[in-house]
Amino acid sequence: MAEINPKYHELDNEMRERKLDESTPVSLLEDVKHKGRVWDDLCEEYGVDNPDPPWRITLEATCDMLAGGYWETFNVCKPKEERNPEEEEKKLDAVERRWEEDKLVEKYYEQVPFPERQLLALAHTMIRRGLFDEEELARRMEEVDQRLNSA
């Protein structure tokens, strides 16, 4: 019988030691979760049959960019200790991000469909890791909203 990749258990231990399994709800994201209209509902209302929202690919690209490897290709394949240390604090390792996504979805976003749940988990992770804070994100969302809805 095949088994779960043993690296998952190592990752699990490492992330728990770093207390990345601990989290509190982010009120801004809770608001989006409760008030946001998911793609499935919009498709139903507008009669659109594209299974994915137009922002799914840009979200995926953001995740890839945050891993920092696509433009320094061998970085991600390298063990962490061999990567460029000055750049590491800016990166969000893909495997760690997915681990956190699993945990955050389980805890807060399980009822949210995909890819909306991926987006909420990514924003949650970035806030938790201090890549930006909740207030900054709230302000930027207001700006984006005004820009898109004033056209």
């Binding site: 095949a2 998911v38 507008y46 696509y70 699993d102 909203d145």
Partner: protein
């Protein structure tokens, strides 16, 4: 009688999720986590990806025993014949860190069925298969497939006889997999285009088998889990 849907070709509404996606991206760029140009180039590249090249690879392998041999021995080299250069065609011009390293083509036989998973995260052969489906990312699939492969395949609607061995391949940072299923009966004399049409994404992951007339993936899963994943 009132129409059920408004006759609109697109969603004429900006959702909070769309706003959030843009805000996250813009802040990341502003903070110097990546550049807008890199993001745009990568997004444009990602928009070109989908499952068709992998389907074509399988169809070619069904028609050409020499190509099948090449595909099984060297998936990256065989991919060139369906227009996928795992190394040089990326926007980086030197491959991608999580996808480029190695593609293995897993050949099914009447007595052996392969199925692909990533138990660690959700590694997927994106250059040749596009974006992974939602269910492929879920702990439910990733945890349970390795333990109860027959049950999970049955939930996808694929019932396998007891004398067929099921082999689960676990993707990792250096290897990606696609399944080369058995060519189904009833496809004798078909062209490469016809054959490629029945090789769906799910067949290439291994949770379905090709059938004449079936050209789309089913909504998944089709049956409830027997042993659901518990957190």
């Amino acid at each position: 009688m009132a129409e059920k849907h408004k006759p609109a070709p697109m969603v004429d509404e900006v959702s909070e999720f769309e706003v959030l996606e843009i805000a996250v991206r813009e802040l990341a760029i502003e903070k110097g986590l990546f550049s807008a140009e890199d993001h745009q180039r990568w997004t444009e590249y990602m928009h070109t990806l989908g499952p068709l090249p992998a389907a074509r690879l399988v169809a070619k392998a069904w028609l050409d025993p020499e190509f099948k041999k090449l595909a099984v021995e060297d998936g990256v080299k065989a991919s060139l014949e369906v227009g996928i250069d795992w190394v040089n065609s990326m926007p980086t011009h030197f491959g991608t860190p999580s996808d480029y390293c190695n593609l293995r083509v897993l050949e099914d036989t009447p007595k052996l069925k392969h199925v692909v998973v990533c138990t660690l995260c959700s590694c997927y052969p994106r250059p040749i298969l596009g974006q992974s489906p939602e269910w492929y990312r879920t702990p439910n699939y990733r945890r349970r497939l390795v333990r109860w492969p027959r049950q999970v395949l049955a939930e996808f609607g694929l019932q396998l006889p007891d004398d067929v061995e099921v082999r689960v391949e676990d993707s990792n940072q250096k290897s990606r997999f696609i399944v080369l299923p058995v060519r189904p009966e009833g496809t004798e004399g078909w062209s490469e285009d016809q054959l490629a049409e029945i090789v769906t994404r799910d067949c290439l992951i291994g949770v379905a088998v090709p059938k004449p007339g079936k050209t789309a993936n089913d909504p998944r899963p089709v049956r409830p889990a027997v042993n659901p994943y518990h957190h």
